[in-house]
């Protein structure tokens, strides 16, 4: 027997940090896992944490870059804090006028809070009624009630507001035509706080309903039965057992609704009348005043209650919950025995359901009417107008939503997998981060995206290079000596070579080295006079060619042939990136000559869509290259190992530093990433719920039979969570199609989003036209859900119902 010094003899105290580093080391043994992990983190950092942080900071900084508390001081203008304001002013921390703003700022703030509190209270009550009626009272037509309650979740954020105006507005069907009320100034109409609360309640109660429903279903019937055997009356039992058990759920739903209604931008824009809420104040600050500082500061104010509520919900309520989250619905069911209560709940639910039906029928009906409230002549003019002028934005929205959907769902599943199954430091951060993007008001994400991606951002690029190359070297080699030997030449040569681009972070006219280069040579360089510039096109050709050459080289070695294949496709992808315009250009020209409107739109837009997958922003392409090349090459131990790995690192660094300098404004990708950030939480949560149901040992069985993480995920985990993936897909698509606040600042003439078009154009085009658009969104979403359910049932042969609850 060989003598082996047991580790145990080296007595040591492992501190937390060392242990955490060791845990990373354990993950690093499986590079695919590492790729998933680092990629998720990088995604969170550049698209969620950084933009939000950027927004928060921007609120404290004036346009000239000085610290400026003006926006926050305005809240305290004319109060006892005036002294402090003066002090700050003399200290140079307040640069702009604060006087005369106090009252408006405060009114908006308190109105917002009031609106949030009222909407969330009403919404939770309605949600509770629905949940109790369907779960406990077993109302006839339960399925139908359930489906109706879900309709608001698939409709655009202002559909209810539109219908309410059509029904109860100044020219409303009910108010004017049926009741004959003539509104004069000063009369209490639907516009304003009360109308807004009603609309918000109807829009958001489904969230509360789904939460409470799943909670009630999990409530163990035996507990109530136990209380009954102890002699408790029905009411006493409800008061002492049922309600306390549901309190965490009710509180959670209340808070979620509060946050959602604060963040909502669509409904207030339509119906709030003279009342202003924070979200519309922010919207006006950006669209009307171009005042990013004000918008950011207000966003921060809006973020605070949201964040507090979110944290309380996450760390307090979830711990006090008595009802296990992992368990399946209990077998035993208790039904309300009192006929009177059952009837009351049934009647209430039916009334609300009827109201919902009327609302959505109104939306659809008003799209077929000339001028709702004044002239009820049926007409198709709204629809022909929409299929003409509006077609572009519908195509754009559908395309971008569809494109983002599988990415969101897959990324969500990967993050869920990491969170549920793997141990690593920063797991909490990953979980939190993937949720926060959807939890914060969309306006903040939108603001953050403008502030982050409208300007070159060298620091973020440096961070990406640092993270990417650190990851690359730890993945592809195992000793520090080798790692350094690859890292240093790789990064330096990559940086030097990025001067081949005319622009870029480093060598461009405004790049770091570019500026110094000009100073030394006293030669002003512009994009066209960069002495080394060969243009982005040529860089892509070179890098693409490098990959193809590499693939040829790898193919000569028998055991690395499959690596070669992947490298080949990466090369081809890079080349296609630059060749695709030669394909799309003729299509576009052909399209422009066409007479038929829809065919023209289809051709010109189609050409754009064809380009999108091949025009990843260069910084993101660079990030992806780090991961893809690492994935291709990490097992390579053949000839010229070090050299090949260094070259790959050089190529990744080079691509990251060239091109658009992280400016994505106006591109499809800024909208796509905003979609992803918004829809990620739903798919992560449905993935987590599904994974928790699957016994850990099933995956362990796969590993011990020889499958690595990637193989196990592909062959075992993914098939098992397929229903959750489908839910994720549906939810992501719905979220994309109906999102408004996050993308409203990001749309451009080239990439139009329906919801944003309605928001900006409904006052000119009329509310009927807005209703037409809304109908189209609803139809498209329902169509997608229908297709997905058919795919799930018929093609994938999954028998389970898609569990929508899991996404909440």
């Amino acid at each position: 027997m060989t003598e082996i010094q047991p580790n145990i003899l080296k007595k040591k105290k492992t501190s937390g940090i060392i242990r955490q580093i060791r845990e990373i080391g354990l993950i690093a043994r499986d590079p695919i896992l590492m790729i998933a992990l680092i990629f998720s983190f990088i995604f969170l950092i550049i698209f969620i944490f950084y933009p939000i942080l950027r927004t928060v900071i921007r609120g404290f900084v004036s346009d000239t870059g000085q610290t400026d508390l003006t926006q926050f001081a305005r809240y305290f203008d004319g109060t006892v804090f005036d002294g402090i304001t003066k002090l700050l002013k003399s200290a140079g921390l307040i640069l702009q006028e604060t006087a005369k703003y106090g009252r408006t700022y405060r009114i908006v703030f308190f109105d917002t809070i009031k609106m949030g509190l009222m909407s969330s209270t009403c919404g939770t009550i309605v949600g509770f009624i629905f949940a109790y009626a369907t779960v406990r009272c077993n109302v006839p037509g339960k399925r139908f009630v359930h489906l109706l309650a879900l309709v608001p979740t698939v409709s655009p954020p202002f559909a209810v507001a539109i219908a309410m105006i059509q029904l109860f507005g100044r020219n409303g069907l009910v108010t004017k035509t049926l009741l004959g009320i003539r509104f004069s100034t000063g009369m209490n109409d639907i516009y304003g706080m009360d109308g807004l609360v009603i609309v918000q309640t109807l829009t958001f109660f489904s969230v509360s309903y789904l939460m409470l429903k799943s909670m009630m279903e999990r409530l163990d019937a035996s507990m109530e039965e136990a209380a009954e055997t102890l002699g408790a009356s029905r009411f006493y039992l409800f008061r002492t057992i049922t309600l306390p058990l549901l309190i965490p759920g009710i509180a959670a739903s209340f808070m979620l609704l509060f946050v959602e209604s604060l963040a909502d931008l669509g409904n207030p824009q339509f119906i709030s009348g003279n009342t202003t809420v924070l979200s519309s104040q922010i919207y006006m600050a950006v669209i009307g005043e171009y005042n990013y500082q004000k918008a950011s500061a207000l966003s921060f104010v809006l973020l605070l209650p949201t964040l507090i509520v979110y944290l309380v919900q996450r760390y307090y309520i979830s711990r006090r919950s008595y009802i296990s989250v992992t368990g399946k619905p209990t077998v035993g069911k208790v039904y309300e025995k009192s006929n009177i209560i059952r009837t009351i709940f049934a009647v209430l639910v039916y009334i609300i359901c009827l109201f919902i039906v009327v609302i959505y029928l109104t939306v659809i009906a008003s799209s077929f009417v000339k001028n709702w409230g004044i002239n009820f002549t049926p007409t198709l003019s709204n629809w022909t107008k929409m299929f003409g002028r509006g077609l572009e934005s519908i195509l754009d929205t559908t395309f971008l939503s569809l494109y983002a959907t599988p990415i969101a769902a897959l990324l969500g599943m990967v993050i869920a997998f990491l969170v549920v199954r793997k141990k690593f430091p920063g797991k909490e951060v990953l979980d939190f981060g993937s949720n926060i993007g959807g939890a914060v008001p969309g306006t903040i994400v939108g603001m953050g995206f403008i502030l982050t991606f409208n300007f070159p951002n060298p620091w973020l690029a440096v961070f990406l290079v640092a993270a990417g190359s650190w990851f690359f070297i730890t993945c592809v080699t195992d000793t520090w000596k080798k790692r350094i030997a690859i890292l240093i030449p790789g990064v330096i040569i990559g940086m030097v070579f990025s001067c081949l681009d005319d622009g870029g972070f480093l060598w461009g006219p405004n790049g770091w080295f570019g500026i110094n280069f000009q100073r030394i040579t006293r030669n002003a360089i512009t994009e066209s006079t960069n002495p080394f510039g060969i243009g982005l096109n040529n860089i892509y050709y070179i890098v693409g060619a490098c990959f193809i050459l590499l693939s040829l080289f790898l193919s000569t070695q028998r055991s690395y042939r499959s690596m070669g294949k992947t490298a080949f496709w990466v090369g081809i992808y890079l080349l296609v990136n630059r060749i695709i315009p030669y394909v799309t250009k003729p299509i576009r020209i052909y399209g422009k000559q066409q007479k038929i409107r829809w065919w023209k739109a289809l051709c010109t837009q189609g050409a754009d869509y064809l380009e999108v997958p091949f025009s990843l922003p260069t910084f993101f392409l660079g990030v992806c290259l780090f991961f893809i090349t690492a994935m291709i090459i990490y097992q390579y131990r053949g000839k010229f190992e070090k050299m090949i790995k260094t070259i790959l690192l050089i190529l990744s660094v080079m691509i990251l530093f060239t091109g658009d300098q992280m400016q994505m404004n106006g591109s499809a990708y800024i909208i796509l990433f905003a979609f992803l950030v918004r829809s990620l939480p739903a798919s992560v949560r449905s993935g987590i719920a599904a994974l928790q149901q699957i016994d850990n040992s099933i995956e362990e069985a796969s590993t011990i039979l020889g499958g690595d993480s990637q193989y196990t995920f592909r062959k075992v985990t993914l098939p098992l969570i397929l229903p959750a993936l489908m839910t994720g897909l549906i939810f992501s698509f719905t979220r994309h199609m109906t999102s408004l606040s996050a993308i409203i600042f990001l749309v451009t003439a080239k990439w139009q989003i329906v919801t944003a078009s309605i928001m900006s154009g409904w006052e000119q085009d009329g509310i009927s036209y807005a209703a037409t658009y809304s109908s189209v969104i609803i139809v498209l979403v329902l169509l997608f859900i229908g297709i997905m359910s058919i795919v799930t049932r018929k093609i994938l042969k999954i028998d389970t119902n898609i569990d929508i609850n899991s996404a909440f």
Binding site: M1, I8, L26, E700, A701, T703, I704, L705, K715
Partner: protein
């Protein structure tokens, strides 16, 4: 030495308010090629943790694990060439029987013909021919168990790990599977580490039993040795049942011991006990089947507290000078039950007793 566990220690970091847990405290086990070793112990003793360390699902915080002379501490699970049968079977629910068994072979990219040959072979071994296309949810518990076994065996693993594989089966089936597993193991000669909390299972199956308690190994030995000569009170009590009586060594000469128990002398003759000295305090381990309960003749006076008819035997709980003693009377000639509260005489089969230093 094929598989060697050398001073392995496993500490689980503190989590969510709970303190850190030392699940394994420097354990050493040596397993030879072709041996079936069972890990036996109460729940929470660290036996499953040991198995998971061998499998590579967890990594030791100290010590080494060696397979065939190579250190495997840092080798990830999927490269260890082991396979495992799980307590929950962990059959892939989306694959049928054939696909389940083929899973590991597919990872190794083994050709279809080879796969077919090997799978048919194991299917025959576990008596599942004709079930190839069944979905897991169409199988009974026992059949699922066999699929799990087949899936592990088809890999021809260096070590086969089994984590309480029979605990979800009913008693009859469990007994049957026990023998089948043992027979397969003898036929194929694979090395196997088997975790169980059922001492009978351990007895039937193993070449070697490792008895664990609270993260430590209490004793390693052949089943007979462990039953007959437990090293500690814990082992004596955990394997089978045992009564303990305090005694003092009165006389010690060559292989013969005279022990004073409850005022009476007991005589033992075994070279094992050569290390005892006169006046040593000892625990005498008395298995219930070593106790004779008679109405008239016997060394000790006792009173019956409880009597139960078990079919194959009669169980008496006796009061012997204030100490409770369990006796199993299997003598078919005396199948009348002595009623409770009767005063009786008790004697032991003295040469079969075991003595532990207290």
């Amino acid at each position: 030495m094929y598989l060697e566990i050398d001073h392995v220690e496993k500490v689980f970091p503190p989590r969510g308010g709970a303190k850190e847990v030392k699940a394994l405290d420097g354990i050493c086990i040596e397993i030879n090629k072709g041996e079936l070793v069972t890990m036996l112990g109460p729940s929470g003793c660290g036996k499953t943790t040991t198995l998971r360390l061998i499998a590579g699902f967890e990594f030791p915080t100290g010590g080494n694990i060696l397979l065939d002379g190579k250190l495997i501490n840092n080798i990830p699970t999927h490269k260890r060439d082991m396979s495992m049968v799980f307590q929950s079977y962990a059959i892939f629910p989306h694959l049928n029987v054939y696909e389940n068994i083929a899973y590991g072979l597919n990872v190794q990219k083994i050709s279809n013909e080879d796969q077919k040959r090997r799978i048919n072979q194991v299917l025959e071994m576990v008596h599942l021919e004709g079930y190839e296309t069944r979905a897991p949810n169409q199988l009974s518990g026992g059949q699922q168990q066999r699929v799990a076994l087949a899936r592990a065996l088809v890999m021809e693993p260096k070590v086969l790990l089994m984590d309480e594989p029979l605990s979800n089966l009913d008693t009859k089936l469990r007994e049957k599977m026990r023998f089948e597993i043992r027979q397969l193991q003898k036929e194929l000669g694979f090395t196997c580490v088997y975790v169980t909390h059922d001492q009978l299972e351990a007895m039937v199956l193993s070449d070697k039993v490792v008895v664990m308690n609270a993260g430590k190994i209490e004793q390693i030995g052949a089943p007979r040795e462990i039953y007959r000569y437990p090293k500690t009170k814990f082992v004596a009590d955990f394997i089978g049942r045992a009564n303990f009586l305090n005694g003092i060594i009165k006389k010690f000469s060559q292989d013969n011991l005279e022990i004073d128990v409850e005022g009476k002398s007991i005589f033992l003759s075994d070279p094992r006990y050569a290390y005892f000295r006169t006046d040593d305090k000892v625990d005498v381990v008395i298995r219930p089947e070593m106790v004779h309960v008679r109405r008239e003749e016997g060394k000790f006076d006792a009173k019956i507290i409880q009597a139960a008819y078990l079919g194959e035997s009669i169980e008496y709980v006796l009061d012997l000078n204030g100490k409770q003693i369990t006796a199993h009377e299997t003598d078919p000639a005396r199948l009348d039950i002595i009623p409770e509260k009767t005063s009786v005489k008790v004697s032991f089969i003295e040469n079969c007793l075991h003595v532990l230093k207290s």
